[in-house]
Symmetry: D3
Subunit: 231 residues, 6 copies
């Protein structure tokens, strides 16, 4: 069930077991990929799993703005503070029409905030059990011989599968995410280590790989929601 298209009486009559909340970001993804990349992929995966699973699930609307301050120097990046993000996600989940919720996440910068939010809700007897799942953690990137990076081969491939008309000429970017000494971060903003905003080599992207990764992600999410529905 897709909440945005349902009426309240349909939700009442269906009484879903698990709610999915797609969460992404609106942030730079290099000169070749759209600002909505993270929200777009999270939404596509969540909706497809929602339409595929045997569990009684409901997919909530996508929250498009996340914890992206690290990209703030690149035009078009939208962001809120971690504290505001936690409140907005957490209160939305509290009001969800199911007592088990899964945040379907498309942005690495959201993960810490989602962990804190989901733990807090789950410990509260008056709130739903909550967990979070990040799509690219669920796929076998090594088998596909692609690296995650940022706007790199993994994300660009999936975009070439889902929305090829939104993808420009894929580019090479910085070799790795961030600067570290002895494991301690020296830089918190992307512009300090990635001139065009890309991390990794997006020229290694193709739509076929993208389809494979996407299908893997959907399969993983389907297994997760079915397991949670059975808890």
């Amino acid at each position: 069930m897709h909440l945005e298209e349902a009426t309240w009486t349909e939700v009442r009559d269906t009484n879903p077991d698990v709610a999915l909340l797609p969460v992404g970001s609106t942030e730079q993804h290099g000169p070749h990929a759209p600002l909505s990349t993270d929200a777009r992929i999270a939404e596509a995966v969540a909706r497809e799993a929602n339409g595929t699973t045997d569990a009684e699930t409901v997919c909530l609307p996508t929250l498009p703005v996340g914890v992206s301050e690290e990209h703030r120097s690149f035009e078009g990046t939208l962001y809120v503070s971690p504290s505001t993000f936690r409140s907005y996600v957490g209160e939305t989940l509290r009001s969800a029409p199911a007592d088990r919720v899964v945040v379907v996440n498309g942005h690495g910068g959201n993960v810490d905030a989602l962990h804190e939010t989901c733990a807090h809700l789950t410990r509260d007897d008056d709130a739903p059990f909550a967990t979070y799942w990040t799509w690219w953690e669920a796929i076998d990137k090594e088998a596909a011989d692609v690296e995650m990076g940022h706007a790199g081969a993994v994300e660009t491939s999936v975009l070439l599968h889902l929305d090829p008309e939104l993808v420009g000429e894929p580019l090479e970017g910085a070799e790795s995410w961030g600067e570290y000494i002895e494991g301690a971060p020296l830089a918190y903003d992307t512009e300090e280590f990635a001139e065009n905003g890309v991390v990794g080599d997006a020229t290694r992207s193709d739509a076929e790989t993208g389809k494979k990764l996407y299908d893997e992600a959907v399969g993983s999410l389907v297994r997760l929601v079915e397991a949670i529905a059975d808890l």
Copy 2:
């Protein structure tokens, strides 16, 4: 320019004068209209104005969850506190790629929070000038012989124009919004005065009226953003 489809380099090169932020809600709209009604119409109007105006505008992604606690007893309604809504909208606007922003609003319950947020940003020299506009305030409901209500003839007509496949059999609802004595509210939750969630008479809806109202709203918003671009 539609931010979700643009890259950061396109935003940088365009350098928009005015950003539009569609804001709605996900809340009950009676047994005949979808939970996304408010977000859906705000988004449609904002995107159409964004694509029509002569001003250099950018349309941001739609924020789908608003101040809807009054509908909480109807299944599927999502809501956050006014305080969290103010923070999420306000910080999103602070990061917008324009120094003038217009919130395009589709939900009455958001208005007070938007006023407070936009005033606060505008008074802050480090934040954009911000204003807010609610689509049904801009149309001549009397001329069209329809009343606003909630999921009533105005909203249902516009939905019949935009997304007829999502609209069920329109219904009659409560005669008026809320209970008052001497102008003081006695009830804060919809269930206290509207059994099926509808206020007004949605049976008076039709798609033709909806198109007229919608076009009027788009026209008004176009005039607003052009005026603001010229400030």
Copy 3:
């Protein structure tokens, strides 16, 4: 019962049904009317209704500082943020010696904050039922042929009835409140549209009209508290 003059044992023995909390502001009211105009009228109306009604009511002390940032450029205006105002009013009401409370309001800028506060309290089982009433919304301004404005004919007339020695030469001010395009506000501070702080034509004021309006307001509030005492 007037709380400020009572002892705790008298409150215990009386056990009031409804508490009235006058709330105003201390803000510019033009060169002719005192900064306390809003608090003064709210207090007078609340005390008179409290002394007149057949219900068992208690009038709390007047809160003199409200949401008046819009007048900050006029000397002598005091203000707190909406958030602080909500907390101060809300916590005061939680501690009130009655399980039904009515905020008697004298300042338009307080209304949004009072709505949010009263809804929040009413939804909380551990707090009193709360509503708010703004005196000039309860009177027939058209019948009296006066307009509200700010420090305009309505307020100045009531002041001429209540405290004529505090009123200087009434003045004309701006023709209307604020600047708008297509219903969207362009200005949040009074100085942008009212040079002397007045909105409307205070030269149309007189004490006789003031007495009429004042009596109407008191009558309306008496009816409200009696209805609430009977809920």
Copy 4:
């Protein structure tokens, strides 16, 4: 200058050096004294000093609700949290029409919060210099052979001077404030050690002593504001 009776143009033309903010509480003062005792005395002293001093001062309206949770079990006591009190006082002082402010305090429970608030404002270059003064700390209670307590001989005497019609039969109360072991408090609420709410012996009150104490307090405050005006 009394702010409540002034217009904004008068404040602008006078341009005061020091603002006085009377702050009290609305809380039980035994079965013989009014709930407004603390606000009432603070207001009287502040207004008299304001009218007497040679400095250019302005007296702001009295804030009637303070940090009185310790009296919550006695009917009619109003209170806010220390945090809300700090915000309401602090923001009011920030907006005061003078760059030096003195809080004229009538309630012991407010002192810690006033210290924190005044220190915070004074350290902020964008806020006024702020200090606070509690009337009974400034008088020679030993010379007058009266003890402070709560609703005891000091407060009751001053009330007998200022508002004798509001004072009932003075009573004896608990011998001392609170319960302590080795200096550590065991009780935070008055009801745990004072059955009728009184601490000290109010039967030792008389109006003549009250006048003496009151005049002393006013004299002290006058000296304070004159010194601050000269800083």
Copy 5:
């Protein structure tokens, strides 16, 4: 029982009646005494009482940073806001393995915040009973002919007893703490009245007096925790 050296199973098996939380500060104590003076003495007293008392107590780890903004201009002073200190102390106490807790305090600047925190916890049925005790309030300074001041004869003497190797040449400092007119503070930061940071005459310190004062403090705390264990 010393919590830092215990395992969770030992705490479970012991099930203490009272928890002690040493709280100090890291702030300037003149050119002769270490920045940790307040934390160091509070910790020593708490641990000794914990090891001496007949009650079943547990000593928690020392919180080293307190409300010391007044010393911020002296290098090495660490501080947090009163609000953050209240939260950190209060939440630590909520999680303590006993339903009665005593904060053993070594810094005057913490007292107001501790009062507010302990009152708040004690009034909350889901939190432990909490009180606070400041070591130098419990000793007979007059009998020992020493004055408290800041890094003065009392503190320096105790340091000479506990950690003589950390004490340099004791110095004379300002004659009294702060500047006041009519009891109202004019200065909130130490640098305004104490050039080297010392208040009082530390040259009057000696280790023997320090031992005496220290033993007195420990004795007082032992009596306190035994009384609280018996409540």
Copy 6:
């Protein structure tokens, strides 16, 4: 320089380049290791690096209570909310006597909060550059053939090197940290997957390995602070 033993004049004269803040937790570490394990190791490593490095560093006092709610069901665990921890750490770092700070962390549950805090400080021009380093991330656990776990072979070995008298009979615990489906966490509290609180096999601990790991950690931290001092 060890801040706790220094005077303010010594700090002023030394003017350190980098401040180290040890941060740990007080939480269950199984039936064999002390509750202070995380704080104890972080403190030891920080102090040793501070005493070894050629850079001008200052070691601040250890913050003993962290983000440990996941262990709350095991007696003796102390914890604060992530929000309070961020404030306490962040404000302490703001007041540190160096414009570059390194948090030396001993508890995995603190990492997300430290990242957010250090990023926030570093982005603020009025705060120091801040980074964080977790000791066991810096060592070659594979080479030493030990696994981290919780109170497992890594931590227990280091304790056997540093404080053998505090270590009981090492135990085996749960095989892995937490329960997950498809990478999504199902449990947020340790008790759900580790009956005695241990994760990993502490019976594989020995002091010699502990010394090796400890020396590695100190070496890594020394290199980090020297690099940061040279930035």
